[in-house]
Symmetry: C2
Amino acid sequence: VPDEESRPGHLPLGKGVEFDLVRRVLRVLGDDARGVGDDASVLDIVPDEHIVISVDSSVEDVHFREAWLTPEEIAWRATTAAVSDLAAMAARPLGLLLALTLPERWVGRLDALAEGVRDAARAAGAPVLGGDIARGTELTLSVTAIGAATRPVSRRGASDGDRVYVTGVLGGAGSAIRALTAGEEPDAWARARFARPVARVRESRWLAAQGATAMIDISDGLSSELHHLAEASAVELHVNLDRVPVASGVSPLDAVTSGEEYELVVTAATEFDRDEFSRTFGIVLTEIGIVATGHAGVLASNHGERVDLPGGHDHYSS
Amino acid sequence: VPDEESRPGHLPLGKGVEFDLVRRVLRVLGDDARGVGDDASVLDIVPDEHIVISVDSSVEDVHFREAWLTPEEIAWRATTAAVSDLAAMAARPLGLLLALTLPERWVGRLDALAEGVRDAARAAGAPVLGGDIARGTELTLSVTAIGAATRPVSRRGASDGDRVYVTGVLGGAGSAIRALTAGEEPDAWARARFARPVARVRESRWLAAQGATAMIDISDGLSSELHHLAEASAVELHVNLDRVPVASGVSPLDAVTSGEEYELVVTAATEFDRDEFSRTFGIVLTEIGIVATGHAGVLASNHGERVDLPGGHDHYSS
């Protein structure tokens, strides 16, 4: 094992308990950490790009329960949630910062947590640029994701006549949480959707290149995200719930309130080549509605019947 | 009071408890928040600049105690600690992200916390670009600071023959902590140094422009930071402790282990105009030693006698 202090791009670190923990993380991260150890990290974009930056925290017993997930999965999910915010803007990930609050009883699982961050960072193509480890009583992973985009896609660009699309198949994460809460073993596919979600980083850039006008990722459930996009763009979204691709065994209502899906809702003035999208990324892209003028909000129907779309997953209620 | 949802540069936010808390923070931040409400924030640098980014967490009962500080001061300190990492690289602040874990018993003090963030952000000239509020049981402020620098100054640039300088007068923060721990009222100057530290943002850019070769901010005590700089630059620092400017009533030993000073240690091949520095910034700049080749470490003397320089402040022991 090479000495991580002599690795190119890292600074030698001083002595102390905190630094010992940082060294353990750096040893696990290996080449997936870059330039760690100075007061701050330095990185670059190309001239026509904008910086895109977001932070997302995962707190024990608020966003996850220890009994439901391995430490690797907890860290994977926390990292992916942050990366997904870059995907929602069609940004290419540049790197991640990890602020970790580590209770004493988690110290023995620090390497496993670092492995989860490393694997998710690698999946996103985003090295870990720096971070901070603090003691505390509550495991918290606060992940800052920084990226770059020539044309960031916000939530506010949807306009009259645009089509509304959603990526992937919804309901898996919510289905897994329901099973786990009931003390049952979730379906394997549903559990994977919950425990190892994937941020749609490449997909979002394809969608942006093909003319996406507005985009948002599904952290709080499709229903909530449609409302957010409608309000940000000041448009009325007409959505056919019966068109939403729903996981087997999950009700459409449960699927549209399933949070932490990390799929994308996207609008576009032109029709996407959905077949090319599926061939390229191995997931479906589905047209679920249309953008209209009117009251900023969502008009949902199910097989022609008007339905009230409920609010989505709220972290506070979990 | 203008509706913060109609403020230019912010997106309208959807419904929900979490959003209500975010709205409260945005109301306090006012014009010191910018472009909040999308999945991520978008910002720009000029072509010859590099991005500089860092994260710093402040955890209740690890980095601060509720009884010692007002909520505004807790938030000011957490924000300033993050900004100080930009100062240590000679970067101009571009903005901040705030990831807040807010226990129920702190909800009533959210506005006061937001005021502390706002005031420190304003002092640094860095708007709040985004953030995240999560419930939890332990108040945690995790602040990401992003900046830009044409020539970031790292810890590793010190070389043989450079002079070693320190800004300001040390020992105040440590003195305040000792008094508070003993149940005594700290001296007003010492308390201000602890409760309302100032990041040396403008000073560091002046020092960089005048030829700083290496720089580090004093978060863990001068003694520790000298070791960090020596190890990162692979040089031997010869430091005269009797030259270190020490607060009245504080012993030199206490001063060099006083953490969270947020002053700067800086090296340079040429001599700084210390009078101009003092006139410009109202604080002293003091030459305290010289850079030599040899074992990577610190050789300290006090009035000609060799002394062992102890390790600095360790957050874990507090």
